[in-house]
């Protein structure tokens, strides 16, 4: 935030800044900068008590930065229109705006959102009410009062779409907009103005100040502009600044956040999604799978497209683990013409007319075998639940009388599409076969040959109109956050006889600033001949 420059009460004030949230003092300079005869003293006193901030408004004339002279902010004029309702509305909106732009309120909202999110991770989301009855019973409440009634009435079981959470988010968005309008934009207008200081005492009172006993202000100007500053010289005084973008960037951050929130809202109310597991060789229509997510969701023409899974296959590491799984997809439009063909894998989706198909999962649907050289028969394969996250599928081929109560048969287990493990009628391990190896196996008199293992592809589909907005917000946020790291540095200088008095301040990089200034000032050449000053 800005410093209120301490002014010499004896001289007329060249300019007068007044902002909301004004700071009233200057911190200490370090006292290692003794140059020549001058050793700046390192004590500063506070000058004015901080005023109530919400009543002061900065009214800045004009848009372009201009040399400013004595500038009293004109009083806020109440409109004398005959329409009293208009006056009331305007006054009300001003009050609402200043209420929303209050910083502690915004901080409180942010804290509330953080707390609600933490609660949302602690409480299991999306379960049936009976689950909450059991976990948070009324006869044994957590912390003495927290029971399932709290959770279900406040909507904490679906925290991230509950009215409490969304309401706080809306409030935060309103605060963001109010703050940008009332506080940040005027601050930027003021920071853009440049002004010259005409009194050496004023310069000496700045955060960092120094004197160069035998120097010329033009040399200083040249060196500063070589260091990346924008320099303005007017007679004996100089003004230079650098890093003004660091003042604009926080506005950009707020706008980017609003973009993201808006895009997210649009996504939440206007998107479609669905997931499907399709065995190899089968197909489905997009519109059957995609379900609407909100009230603004309208289906498009693309929903009539038919998706055909041509082939599903997996890659493996040498150790046997799954490395990647792929699906070869063909899209046919309503007339049966193939419009697109692509092989997708994880992290590589298919995009068609706003609909995106992602490869997210896989499964095994059937096992093709030859039994006693007859077939091929398709055996259904079912997933088996095992501890851990490794998948296991099984199938069963009954042998003998299939209608008897005690059916015996050959069991087959598969972990992936690479190999099948076979067990005989007693459950003893019989052998391992690879599909397509054409190697039969003899179990209890039956000759089995595994022809193929047919996988099925787990696909997720989505259409989301808010994504471009959200991506734009993301990019803007990344960029503006980086830029707001820049520190806005301002330097004033005055040629006082043969001495140049230099002073400066910066808003963020306060640690490096004295060192940087010293490096710059070290490079200003010392003038030994008095005639050099006249020549410049």
């Amino acid at each position: 935030m800005e410093t209120l420059l301490t002014l010499n009460p004896l001289k007329p004030q060249p300019h007068f800044f007044k902002y909301p949230n004004s700071r009233t003092y200057t911190p200490v300079t370090n006292n290692n900068n003794c140059r020549g005869l001058f050793c700046p003293v390192s004590c500063k006193l506070s000058s004015q008590p901080s005023k109530d901030t919400t009543k002061n408004k900065v009214v800045v004339p004009g848009a372009a930065p201009s040399l400013s002279e004595d500038n009293e902010p004109p009083a806020v004029v109440e409109s004398r229109s005959k329409n009293t309702a208009g006056v009331v509305v305007r006054r009300l909106s001003k009050r609402v705006l200043s209420f929303l732009a209050n910083l502690p309120l915004a901080l409180g909202e942010m804290f509330t959102i953080a707390g609600l999110m933490a609660l949302g991770t602690a409480i299991d989301q999306g379960e049936k009410p009976e689950y909450y009855f059991q976990k948070y019973p009324e006869d044994n409440p957590i912390l003495g009062f927290f029971t399932w009634r709290w959770i279900l009435t406040l909507g904490f079981d679906h925290m991230f779409s509950s009215p409490v959470f969304l309401g706080t988010l809306v409030l935060l968005a309103a605060s963001l907009m109010a703050c940008t309008y009332t506080t940040q934009i005027p601050m930027v207008k003021v920071a853009r103005r440049w002004s010259f200081l005409h009194s050496a005492n004023t310069i000496r009172k700045l955060e960092f100040s120094d004197s160069l006993p035998k120097a010329s202000i033009q040399d200083l100007g040249v060196i500063l502009s070589g260091s990346g500053y924008e320099v303005f010289l007017k007679g004996p005084s100089l003004y230079a600044f650098k890093g003004l973008a660091g003042r604009f960037a926080p506005i950009g951050v707020h706008i980017a956040l609003l973009l993201i929130m808006g895009g997210g809202t649009y996504s939440a109310i206007g998107s479609f999604k669905g997931s499907v597991t399709v065995p190899q060789g089968l197909n489905f229509v997009m519109g059957d799978v995609l379900g609407p997510n909100g009230f603004l969701s309208t289906p498009t023409e693309a929903f009539n497209t038919e998706v055909h899974v041509n082939r599903f296959y997996m890659d493996y590491y040498d150790s046997g683990e799954v490395s990647q799984f792929h699906t070869d997809l063909s899209l046919f439009d309503i007339d049966g013409k193939e419009v697109m063909r692509k092989t997708i894998s994880v992290n590589d989706p298919l995009r068609y007319e706003g609909v995106t198909i992602y490869q997210t999962d896989w499964s095994i649907s059937a096992l093709q075998i030859l039994k006693d050289d007859e077939g091929p028969y398709n055996l259904a394969v079912a997933p088996l639940t095992v501890n851990g996250d490794k998948k296991l599928y099984g199938s069963f081929l009954p042998v003998g009388n299939a209608d008897s109560t005690n059916v015996k048969g050959i069991s087959m287990l598969l972990r992936d599409l690479q190999s099948v493990v076979l067990y005989d009628e007693e459950g003893k391990f019989a052998g391992v076969r690879r599909p397509n190896s054409k190697l039969p196996i003899e179990i209890n008199g039956t000759k089995i040959e595994i022809v193929d293992a047919i996988g099925s592809s787990g696909l997720d589909m989505k259409t989301d109109p808010g994504v471009p907005i959200v991506y734009a917000g993301f990019g803007a946020l990344m960029l503006t956050t980086c830029i707001s790291y820049l520190s806005h540095t301002q330097i004033w200088a005055l040629q006082d006889g043969t001495t140049v008095v230099v002073g400066g301040k910066t808003n963020r990089a306060k640690i490096e600033f004295p060192d940087e200034m010293n490096r710059v000032l070290d490079r200003v050449p010392e003038i030994n001949e008095p005639s050099d000053v006249i020549c410049g």
């Binding site: 901080s50 901080l107 942010m110 933490a118 999604k273 994880v346 956050t481 490096e512 060192d515």
Partner: protein
């Protein structure tokens, strides 16, 4: 075979160097400030940085993927980031206050990573299909770098709080009259918050340097945390874009995602408290301390649950 011995050597070298550096730092802190131990400790940190870089490169070359696929590798990356943060200001500003904190953090994370607690996951493993993406490099490295920077900044704030409250506690004890002690403590507390030096006889040189040290800590903490905040923003957003490319949803309220967002919010609160001068100093340091705890919950606490999309980082503590 060569790889594992090389990795072994590098790990142990970096661990021992950092322990030596830490001891040197404590000696300089407690004893006199002589230049020699300081200089050699700086060289030691540079050597540690090179060792850790070598360690990460060896793992990268051997396993074929960027070394950030599970908790062990992310811990090594974290200690590497700490040593990086230690070195970068060293080239711009010779002596700074960060050194003790970054050096200690490096050794603690490196020690934890190489300790016997996580022995079974030292070996490089293969990458599951979901992690085979270029986004892995950007997202995870940004997140770990941001954790390192934010942890450093929060530790500086913790140090600031400790020093501030120790001062108030001791000076309010050292007065005879009861009324005077109360108002003196109040004035001193206000001075801490306003950072004005009053020419009273109560203040000695030692207090001046201490107050200036507190101000230095405050500024360093602010700069480091704002840098870490930038990295955190980029990390979270790149994670969201990756999730959208891989699974179709840029935000699914996964526990890890939610806690990263909570961390982001807490540090945004920190940055906003610094805009108002009367909240600076102790208040913002309290927020930063809260942020410190939240980062640990986000990094380790969620992994202990082992659920959700980020289950790659989960581990079980075994005593082997």
């Amino acid at each position: 075979m060569i790889f594992s011995t090389l990795e072994h050597i590098l790990t142990h070298i970096s661990f021992s160097i950092v322990s030596i550096v830490i001891t040197l730092h404590f000696i300089t802190l407690l004893g006199n400030e002589t230049i020699k131990p300081y200089d050699s400790s700086e060289k030691g940190m540079i050597a540690t940085f090179l060792c850790l870089t070598g360690l990460l490169m060896t793992r990268w070359i051997y396993s074929g993927h960027f070394p950030l696929s599970d908790l062990y590798e992310s811990l090594i990356f974290l200690s590497w980031s700490f040593s990086l943060i230690h070195i970068v200001p060293y080239f711009k500003i010779r002596k700074n206050d960060l050194t003790t904190i970054t050096a200690s953090s490096t050794i603690f994370t490196q020690g934890f990573a190489t300790s016997g607690l996580l022995n079974e996951i030292h070996k490089p493993t293969i990458l599951v299909p979901a992690l085979q993406s270029e986004w892995l490099i950007m997202h995870v490295s940004m997140m770990i770098l941001s954790y390192a920077a934010l942890l450093c900044g929060s530790l500086l704030s913790v140090a600031l709080l400790v020093i501030t409250f120790r001062k108030i506690f001791y000076s309010s004890k050292s007065n005879n009259l009861l009324n005077e002690s109360f108002s003196f403590g109040e004035i001193q507390y206000k001075n801490e918050r306003n950072k004005i030096f009053q020419k009273t006889s109560f203040f000695s040189d030692k207090n001046y340097y201490k107050a200036q040290f507190i101000q230095q800590l405050d500024y360093w903490s602010y700069r480091v945390i704002s840098l870490g905040f930038i990295f955190l923003t980029i990390g979270i957003l790149s994670g969201a874009v990756w999730a959208n490319e891989a699974w179709g949803s840029y935000w699914s309220w996964d526990p890890k995602e939610t806690w990263a967002f909570i961390t982001w919010i807490v540090f945004a609160i920190y940055l906003h408290t610094r805009t108002k001068k009367n909240l600076q100093g102790a208040n913002s340091a309290i927020v930063a301390t809260l942020g410190f705890l939240i980062i640990w919950i986000c990094y380790f606490g969620v992994n202990l649950l082992g659920i959700g999309l980020h289950s790659y980082g989960s581990f079980t503590l075994t005593y082997s």
